[in-house]
Structures are given as structure tokens and as C-alpha cells.
């Protein structure tokens, strides 16, 4: 599998968030800086689900401390975290 580009990861994360946690929302309203955890979109269980999904999809592993605001609070942060894990 060719390495995923930042845009591909971004697209995947956006689609997952919109389908799972924001059904019916205008996709344009979800920006790369929309606060996810502090904005009430991801609670603890939703964060763990997102991480499990990403781990499976990209074959990466999140450390326990990475399931947190510092690594998951915006799409930008999520993309950075995955890219770092993929060595990109």
C-alpha cells in the first residue's frame, strides 16, 4: 500500500467524524480546526472508537497518553499524529 498523504488521511478522518458523530451536519461546517473534544463532539468513548478505527486502517498504534486533547482535539492534530506514526 502506498503511504497515505496528508490529504488522504484528512479526508478519511473527516468522513469518519461526519458519519459517526455528526450525522446530518453540513460537511463544510467541519473545519480542520473545529475543536473535537473540547467542542463536545468526541467524548471518552468516541475518542477510543476513533483511535481504534485509525489503528486498524493505518496499521499504527496509539500510546495511552495520545488518546487525549493534545493529540486528537482537531483534524489537523489527528492528521499530524498519524503522519508522525507513519514516519511521514
Amino acid at each position: 500500500m502506498p503511504p497515505a498523504s496528508a490529504d488522504e488521511i484528512r479526508g478519511t478522518v473527516r468522513e469518519y467524524l461526519l458519519t459517526e458523530f455528526l450525522p446530518g451536519e453540513d460537511p463544510a461546517a467541519l473545519t480542520d480546526q473545529t475543536p473535537l473534544i473540547t467542542g463536545g463532539i468526541l467524548d471518552s468513548i468516541a475518542s477510543v472508537k476513533l483511535v481504534s478505527h485509525l489503528e486498524e486502517l493505518y496499521g499504527v498504534r496509539f500510546d495511552a497518553h495520545e488518546v487525549s486533547v493534545d493529540y486528537l482535539d482537531t483534524i489537523d492534530l489527528v492528521v499530524d499524529t498519524i503522519q508522525r506514526k507513519l514516519g511521514g
Binding site: 451536519e25 453540513d26 461546517a29 467524548d43 471518552s44 488518546v67
Partner: protein, 509 residues
């Protein structure tokens, strides 16, 4: 005579001065009984100098930490009642609670004090509590006006729970009502000084009564599970193994997260002897997976609303059969309590019939703080003139004499193990200036209960799920933020012009 909660702790402190009373693995700190006793005594002295005494209230707004436990014990030693407030929830909700019960003082984490003062609308005289910083969290003591001492003998704590009209209500407990439950735990679970009890629930949640006072009455250790670790299954399993926890107590939601995402097979929990859960229904399929990961542990389902502490209990004996789909019963009344099942006419029904579970006895609360209107509805006056607390839970007694939980009579749900009044979420939505009408419905979801909000916005207001979730996160604890939002032109109404929740529920699919 019943020993007060702090007297039980003091007795342990003189019998076991050098044993660890509280460990805080997240901060890498722990405290021995004698040290904690001295810390609490000094803080109790400072509270007393502020005029805190019997029947007064003291707020505790701090993360789970050794100083927070010290503040709770200090309040009790000063003769007052503590009012624990969720330090992670919006400050406005906290100050509403603290002003509702007229606290004389607040012990708060230093960094939370400015937000509290802002929500309070004024600066409060503040004293630093320097020695707390050495124990992991820097606390300050805020002086408040306070209210009149409550005319309740042995007032110990007030726990605020979700209120259906949007205003949290204070559940008032005494040393006697807590001790009745603690005594039953001590008799049943036989805690030893070498036990290490998990303290997973936040202090404003009633599970904390067992977490704190059963070990501290027995010379055992309390192992604090921090707010962050508590929600993160990847951190929980290593914490249980690494800190040698022998007694685990939490909601089934947490245990389910552990089973599904905790990597339990990678961690050796050889010390664990007892698993207790309470707060909601534990699906047998998840319990079976937990038993496979942690075989041979004694397992108990404890039941009771905050108003009654724990009032019934059931021991799960043996393994969960693979074909079992029905949740386990909530069991029989514990020592000190009596239970009845009332039919629609408020008369007891015969065993096997459905009805509302009501409780009378030692573990039941005094009443709600300053809410005689709620007390009048919450208690049923029996033919024998005894006061029976109406749990609002519909149960049936099975052939073995155990109660089986069937559902709720009202609009209260359990989400992530927390009690949530759907009306409180609606009240928060109505505070949004763009919301004209709002209604909230609970439905079964993939992760337990799903909360669907239906909202009608005013002309020209954007209909945005993201904006609504953010508004809710700013006004409610995260576990109350609805999962889904649907925007409607109007809410469906019944013939009497009330919101038609049945039709709304059908919209959710």
C-alpha cells in the same frame, strides 16, 4: 453508637499509622494514615477558624488527589458536610451548586479559583494551602458567606445529581446513612488492611462512598484513579495491575471499555480478588468476556440511587453461561434496609408482578437540600407511617426473591454510568439564544444509550450540530452532550399540545 465517617478513619490511623492510606499512582505519590490524619486535622483547624461547624457546608472543587481526600476528611472533622463538585464541568454549574447549598467555604485547586470567582461574580477571600502542593495538587481555601447551619443531625455530605428542570438537586446524607452502607460492605466483603481499593468514580458520584470509607474504616488503601486515566482503557489495565488493586468498583460502562479496548490479556492482575459494579445494567455478554479475562473473582452487582446509597445487592455466582441474554438481578435488600414493590395504586404487589421499587431504612437520604416540594414527591408514606423512597425504577421479584430491573418510570437515563435527566439537557438547550424549541430522547445505541436532540431554531439562526455540541459542552458535563441533533421546523405535538415524545422517538430510527 454509630461511629462517624472521620472517626472510623481516625481509628484506622491510630491502629495503622504507617500503612498507606491513599495512593495516587498518576502523580506517583502516596500518604500514610498518620500523615493524612495530621493534614486533615490542620485543615480542619483552619476551617473552624473561618467559622465552619456542625451543619455547615464546605465545597470541594479539586481533581482526584490526596489533598482532595484530605479536604473531605478535614470538613468532616470540622463537623461540617462536604459538597464535592465536578472540577471538569463548566464552572457555572459548580457555583450554582455551591450557592444553592450556601457553602461557608470552598477548598479548590488553585488554578480553578479564578473561574469559580468569575462564575460567582466576585472575588472571595483566599488562603493558600501550601502543604497541599507537596502532595500533588495545590489547593486554596476560599471564604464564602455561607447559610444557616442545617438542622440535620450528623450531616455528612450533599451529592448533587441531575435535576429534571435543569437545576441539579442536592441529595443530603448523614454519617448514619453512609455508615449503614459502609457497615454492610465491611461485613460482606471483609476488607483487610492489605487490601487496595480502586477509587475510580469522581467524589461527586455516590460510588465514591464505598471507595473512600470502606478502605479507610479498615486500615486498607485507597488507590486513586485520575480523571484522565479513568476514561482511558489503555491506561486503566496497567494501572490496576501495577498498583496491585485487590477490589475494583466502577460502572459497567468502564468495565466494558476495559474489556473491549483495554488489552486485558497483556496485564497480570493477580492481586485482584473482588469486582463490584453499580450504576447501570451490565450486559451478560460483556460480563462473560470480563470473567474470561479475570477468571475466578468474586463479582457483585450493587444497586441503589444516590438517594439510598446502595440498597440491594446480588452476587454473580459462577461463570456467565454463553446463552444468557438477561441481565443479572439487582438482588435483595441489604442489611438495614427494607424494600417493597408498589403497583399503580401505590399498594404493594405480589411477588412476580411489576411495580416501582421503594426503599425504607438506614441507607436512605434525609431528603433533598431545601426542596420540600421534591421530598413530597420522592417519598411514599406507607400504611405503617414509615417513609419509603420512591426509586422510580420498575422491578419484578423473581422466584429466588431477587429483584429484576425492568426500566424507569420517568425521563431519567444512565449514560456512561451517570444519571442524566433528559430535562436537564433540554433546559440547557433552551438557554441557547437561537433555540426556539428543543426536546431530547434516549434510544438504544451501539455504545449503550444514545441521546438524540430535536431542535427548532429561530429564523435566520444556523442549524449546526457542531455549534450545538459546542454550546452543550460549555454548559453541561460532557456525558450529557447529545450524540445526534436533528433540526425540525416544529416539534411534533400531542392533541393536548404537549411535545409528542413517542413520535420524536420514531424519527430517531
Amino acid at each position: 453508637m454509630t461511629l462517624a465517617l472521620h472517626e472510623r478513619f481516625a481509628r484506622s490511623a491510630s491502629a495503622h499509622p504507617d500503612r498507606i492510606a491513599v495512593a495516587d499512582p498518576a502523580r506517583g505519590s502516596s500518604i500514610r494514615y498518620a500523615e493524612l490524619d495530621r493534614f486533615a486535622d490542620r485543615l480542619a483547624g483552619r476551617l473552624a477558624r473561618l467559622g465552619v461547624g456542625a451543619g455547615e457546608r464546605v465545597g470541594v472543587v479539586a481533581p482526584k488527589s490526596i489533598p482532595a481526600v484530605g479536604a473531605i476528611l478535614a470538613t468532616l472533622k470540622a463537623g461540617a458536610a462536604y459538597v464535592p463538585v465536578d472540577a471538569t464541568a463548566p464552572a457555572r454549574r459548580g457555583t450554582e451548586i455551591l450557592t444553592d447549598c450556601g457553602v461557608r467555604a470552598v477548598v479548590a485547586e488553585r488554578s480553578l479559583a479564578p473561574a469559580l470567582e468569575e462564575a460567582w461574580g466576585r472575588e472571595l477571600p483566599l488562603q493558600p494551602l501550601g502543604e497541599s502542593a507537596d502532595l500533588g495538587v495545590e489547593l486554596v481555601l476560599l471564604e464564602c458567606e455561607g447559610g444557616d447551619p442545617a438542622p440535620v443531625e450528623g450531616l455528612a455530605y450533599i451529592l448533587y445529581t441531575s435535576g429534571s428542570t435543569g437545576k441539579p438537586k442536592g441529595v443530603v446524607h448523614t454519617h448514619a446513612s453512609a455508615a449503614c452502607f459502609v457497615d454492610w460492605c465491611v461485613d460482606t466483603f471483609q476488607p483487610r488492611p492489605d487490601d487496595r481499593f480502586s477509587s475510580h468514580a469522581p467524589f461527586h458520584f455516590d460510588l465514591s462512598i464505598l471507595d473512600l470509607y470502606v478502605p479507610l474504616s479498615s486500615g486498607a488503601s485507597v488507590v486513586l484513579v485520575g480523571e484522565e486515566e479513568g476514561k482511558n482503557p489503555l491506561k486503566l489495565a496497567p494501572l490496576i495491575a501495577g498498583s496491585g488493586i485487590t477490589v475494583w468498583y466502577s460502572t459497567p460502562s468502564v468495565l466494558r471499555l476495559l474489556v473491549e479496548h483495554g488489552g486485558l490479556e497483556r496485564h497480570d492482575v493477580a492481586d485482584l480478588r473482588l469486582v463490584l459494579f453499580a450504576g447501570e445494567v451490565f450486559q451478560p455478554s460483556h460480563l462473560r468476556r470480563l470473567q474470561e479475562a479475570w477468571p475466578g473473582r468474586d463479582t457483585w452487582n450493587l444497586y441503589g440511587p444516590t438517594e439510598t446509597n446502595v440498597c440491594t445487592a446480588y452476587e454473580v455466582v459462577g461463570g456467565v453461561p454463553p446463552d444468557r441474554a438477561d441481565p443479572y438481578p439487582i438482588g435483595k435488600a441489604i442489611t438495614g434496609d427494607a424494600t417493597l414493590v408498589l403497583g399503580a395504586d401505590d399498594r404493594p404487589v405480589a411477588a412476580g408482578n411489576e411495580g416501582e421499587l421503594v426503599v425504607h431504612g438506614g441507607t436512605v437520604m434525609v431528603g433533598y437540600w431545601n426542596r420540600p416540594d421534591l421530598d413530597a414527591r420522592a417519598f411514599h408514606a406507607g400504611a405503617d407511617a414509615r417513609r419509603w423512597y420512591r426509586t422510580g425504577d420498575v422491578v419484578r421479584e423473581d422466584d429466588a426473591g431477587d429483584y429484576v430491573f425492568l426500566g424507569r418510570r420517568d425521563r431519567m437515563i444512565k449514560r456512561r454510568g451517570y444519571r442524566v435527566e433528559l430535562g436537564e439537557i433540554e433546559a440547557a438547550l433552551y438557554r441557547h439564544p437561537g433555540v426556539r424549541e428543543a426536546a431530547v430522547v434516549a434510544a438504544p445505541g451501539a455504545d449503550g444509550v444514545r441521546v438524540d436532540a430535536y431542535v427548532c431554531v429561530r429564523n435566520g439562526e444556523p442549524a449546526s450540530t457542531i455549534a450545538m455540541k459546542r454550546f452543550c459542552a460549555e454548559n453541561l458535563p460532557l456525558y450529557m452532550v447529545p450524540d445526534r441533533f436533528q433540526f425540525l421546523d416544529d416539534l411534533p405535538k400531542t392533541s393536548t399540545d404537549k411535545i409528542d415524545y413517542v413520535r420524536l422517538a420514531a424519527l430517531g430510527g
